[in-house]
């Protein structure tokens, strides 16, 4: 299986990673290499094998529904680039 340049650009966009046009050729080759390895694994017969959601043979421990956190927004906002009226400020994004 191989990926083309358009797919690399789409993945980069979804992951919000800026990829320089000069790097695309090399990335295409390397990701194709990774996918070849996946193809190899796909060739194994897994009929009757449950997909693995976690490599640990254990189940999730649950916590009681209790409020254990206190208001620490002052501390958290101390390291934020911009805040106002207790809100974090970010560049405007309307989706």
């Amino acid at each position: 299986m191989s990926v083309d340049q358009a797919e690399i650009e789409k993945i980069a966009q979804l992951a919000r990673i800026r990829v320089a046009p000069s790097d695309i050729a090399e990335l295409t080759e390397r990701i194709t290499g990774i996918l070849d390895m996946v193809d190899q694994m796909q060739a194994v017969d897994t009929a009757g094998v449950e997909p693995l959601a976690s490599p640990l043979n254990a189940s999730q421990r649950l916590r009681e529904d209790q409020v254990t956190e206190t208001d620490r927004h002052g501390e958290f906002q101390g390291i934020a680039p911009a805040t106002e009226s207790d809100l974090y400020l970010v560049p405007k994004v309307i989706d």
Binding site: K10, Q13, L14, R16, A53, S54, L56, A58, S59, Q60, R61, L62, R63, E64, D65, Q66, V67, T68, E69, D71, R72, H73, F76, Q77, A82, E84, S85, D86, L87, Y88, L89, V90, P91, K92, V93, I94, D95
Partner: protein
């Protein structure tokens, strides 16, 4: 063409906020309306190294919902990451569930305006975390982010595309609302966003088995808007199809001010959430014994209650539906019906109580009139202390000023006049003052007399300010008029 030709196909995705004290994956509070970011912990903010720990109550509530809709409960439930970038989602992914949801296929019964019922399939319901809130007011050209809501537990309930009209969709939504509030797993407060709804809608010629192309209307947050959004979107699609056009599969927004739907700005890249199993959470095992205990603890649900109201109290299916729709209304009705007159209780609750609540824009939980007082009021009608007409006056006073039924009847002198001496005097007076009507009465045959007697009763009720015992008045009148002949 138009309505007779096209069939509307509707499916709903309902997000229900679960009524837990703390968030689904952290110990932050979930209180509505707290000051910005005061309930956002390091986990909710996605600080490096923070790990989610699942809230047992969120799991319990989801299982309870599953049992209530007769669904398969996933014995092994898996969380997945749904990846997308948005400033109110600090991790860059939402923890949700993809192919092992906690609740599998189930169904609910909806009731329509004519009292008939229909079954609607629920495809699945899964647990997920809510995102924060973005405020786009002017912060010097920036957006403000409040992460208090980030991590609030949601149950997303996905229906089968089995609804065929706005009425059915609203009935379905009301049924879901009624089930989750009966179970107490959500406050169901739509104004505060505790229940939000995405509507999938498409049209196809009647008799066609393939679905048409659908649009999704996001985040509709009231029963009325769901109804209106479906109506205008149906018309929009119909116009396009009848002009020979085709529907674009897209996400739309309902604008209630203009009563129209419009396309959300199309994204450069179509949604591609790249789901994969959440490595920070292990699969959740749900034991049979856990489910069995919850099954035992389920309250009587709306559909069962409606049927019981019909059989136990002899109510019609519409009345039973209204009275069982909300648990607080049902409990109130039953408390009033305990006085013994269920039919009167059903009437008073539906007409007077729900009417008065509606007029003052209150919900049942704010009802100022205790059920015991309404029961006492019905008791006083039935034991002939007051007439039904006076009872409405007493009701108004109780509603607006409070107090007790008997004290109001005493202090206002509302007591029905059942003293036959006093009533006879009144009857005599009216007869003496209406010689013409008496002559008419005497000249009339048996059948007509019954009608004419109404005039005298009316006069006496007027003279007594509605306080004469109507049964006694009728008896005395009949005797006196017949004696005059």
């Amino acid at each position: 063409m138009s309505d007779a030709y096209w069939e509307t196909v509707i499916g709903l995705e309902v997000h229900v906020q679960l009524a837990t004290e703390s968030k689904i994956f952290s110990g932050s509070a979930t209180t509505f309306g707290a000051s910005p970011n005061s309930q956002a912990s390091a986990v909710d903010l996605a600080m490096p190294g923070m790990l989610p720990v699942l809230n047992e109550k969120a799991v319990r509530y989801a299982v309870m919902f599953g049992l209530a809709i007769d669904a398969d409960i996933g014995h092994r439930s898996v969380f997945d990451r749904k990846n997308y970038f948005y400033p109110d989602l600090p991790k860059g992914y939402q923890i949700s569930q993809f192919d092992h949801p906690i609740v599998g296929r189930g169904h609910v019964q909806i009731q329509l305006g004519d009292g008939s019922t229909r079954e609607i399939g629920v495809t699945r319901a899964h647990l997920e975390e809510d995102a924060g809130k973005s405020l786009h007011e002017d912060f010097h050209g920036m957006s403000g982010i409040d992460l208090n809501r980030a991590g609030t537990p949601l149950l997303e309930i996905v229906s089968e595309p089995e609804m065929r009209s706005a009425e059915e969709a609203v009935a379905y939504l009301k049924t879901i609302h009624s089930i989750v509030t009966y179970l107490g797993i959500s406050d169901g407060n739509m104004a505060e966003g505790s229940m939000r709804c995405d509507v999938n809608i498409s049209l196809r010629p009647r008799g066609e088995s393939e679905f048409g192309t659908r649009t999704e209307i996001k985040n509709v947050n009231s029963f009325r808007f769901v109804e209106k959004a479906i109506q205008v979107e149906t018309e929009r699609q119909m116009d396009i199809l009848e002009d020979g056009g085709s529907i674009v599969q897209e996400t739309r927004l309902y604008d209630s001010d203009r009563n129209e739907t419009r396309s959300m700005r199309s994204k450069e890249v179509a949604n591609d959430y790249r789901y994969f199993p959440e490595p920070d959470l292990l699969p959740v095992e749900i034991e049979d014994s856990y489910v069995a205990v919850l099954r035992e603890s389920l309250p009587e649900l709306p559909a069962a209650k409606r049927e019981r109201f019909e059989s136990q109290y002899g109510l019609g299916s519409y009345d039973a539906g209204v009275l069982s729709g909300e648990r607080v209304i049902a409990d109130y009705f039953e408390a009033v019906a305990a006085s013994g007159d269920a039919k009167a209780a059903a009437n008073w609750v539906q007409v007077e109580v729900l009417g008065a609540l509606n007029n003052s824009d209150l919900s049942m939980s704010d009802c100022p009139l205790p059920a015991t007082e309404l029961a006492a009021l019905i008791g006083r009608i039935n034991d002939n202390t007051i007439s039904g007409k006076i009872a409405k006056q007493v009701f108004e006073i109780l509603w607006n000023e409070g107090g007790s039924v008997d004290a109001i009847i005493d202090s206002r002198g509302f007591k029905q006049v059942s003293d036959s001496g006093a009533l006879e005097a009144m009857v005599d007076e009216v007869i003496a003052a209406s010689p013409e009507q008496v002559q008419q009465y005497l000249a009339a045959d048996e059948g007509k007399r019954k009608k004419l007697v109404g005039f005298f009763v009316g006069q006496i009720m007027k003279a007594s300010k509605g306080q004469a015992n109507p049964k006694l008045v009728n008896e005395i009148l009949a005797a006196k008029l017949d004696a005059a002949s």
